[in-house]
């Protein structure tokens, strides 16, 4: 009994608790927080070919911006995920 008591003494330890440290969620870059612009239809009163082409050029620019934003989103996510994995 006495030996058992001595062995149990050696096994005594304090209780561990959860570590009170939190990592804040990374802020999204300002440029990515804005949604993509909508494509603009052609004004029906503008009937010249150049009007159509100008409108198309505008819309291409909007689509390209949206594509660039999408790529940036993916890059941002991959980078932030990698940083998070390094801390874990």
């Amino acid at each position: 009994m006495r030996q058992l008591l001595l062995i149990s003494v050696l096994l005594l330890t304090g209780c561990a608790t959860a570590i009170p440290v939190k990592m804040s969620f990374p802020q999204l870059p300002e440029a990515l927080a804005k949604p993509c612009d909508r494509l603009l239809p052609l004004d029906p009163s503008k009937k010249q070919l150049t009007d159509l082409l100008e409108n198309t050029v505008d819309n291409y620019a909007k689509a390209k911006e949206c594509y660039a934003k999408n790529q940036a989103w993916q890059e941002w996510y991959a980078t932030q995920k990698q940083i998070y994995e390094e801390v874990k």
Partner: protein, 151 residues
């Protein structure tokens, strides 16, 4: 318990170690002193006191070691998080700069194209005017709702 944070760690460790040593010493002393006839009647009391001090000392040692290990872990994790947050901020700045540069380039290109169109407007429009059908069909591909013509 929080009051312990005001006491230096070295002092706490010293007290805990001393109590363990005292517990062991009293328990051993109780065993050997039991052979002396006059003192043998205090043997049980010495054992009880010795084991109690030893148990308390070992328990406190365990608590303190765990607490110290946890504090160390917290410190390490906080340092890691600080580095990660700095990295995240840098990555954000990098992404922001990259996207803004790209958007500026896209807009520049678009403006150059539009300037060319305006400059050569007369040549381009010379023999071509868009019909309503053409405009409706074009707008149909862009807008959510179809126009009356394309329904």
């Amino acid at each position: 318990m929080w009051l312990l944070h005001f006491i230096p760690d070295a002092l706490i460790v010293y007290v805990i170690n001393m109590s363990i040593l005292a517990g062991v010493a009293i328990t051993i002393a109780g065993t050997f002193l039991g052979f002396i006839p006059f003192i043998s009647r205090y043997k049980s009391i010495l054992h009880l006191v010795g084991v109690t001090i030893l148990v308390l000392g070992v328990y406190c040692k365990g608590v303190f070691s765990t607490d110290a290990a946890m504090r160390e872990e917290v410190r390490a994790l906080e340092a890691k998080i600080a580095v990660a947050e700095k990295k995240a901020q840098e990555a954000n700045t990098q992404v922001q700069t990259k996207i803004v540069t790209k958007i500026v380039k896209i807009q520049d290109k678009s403006n150059t194209a539009k300037e060319t169109l305006r400059r050569k407007k007369d040549t381009i429009n010379a023999e071509c005017n868009l019909s309503d059908d053409a405009i409706n069909a074009y707008n149909f591909s862009i807008t959510k709702t179809p126009t009356a013509e394309t329904k």
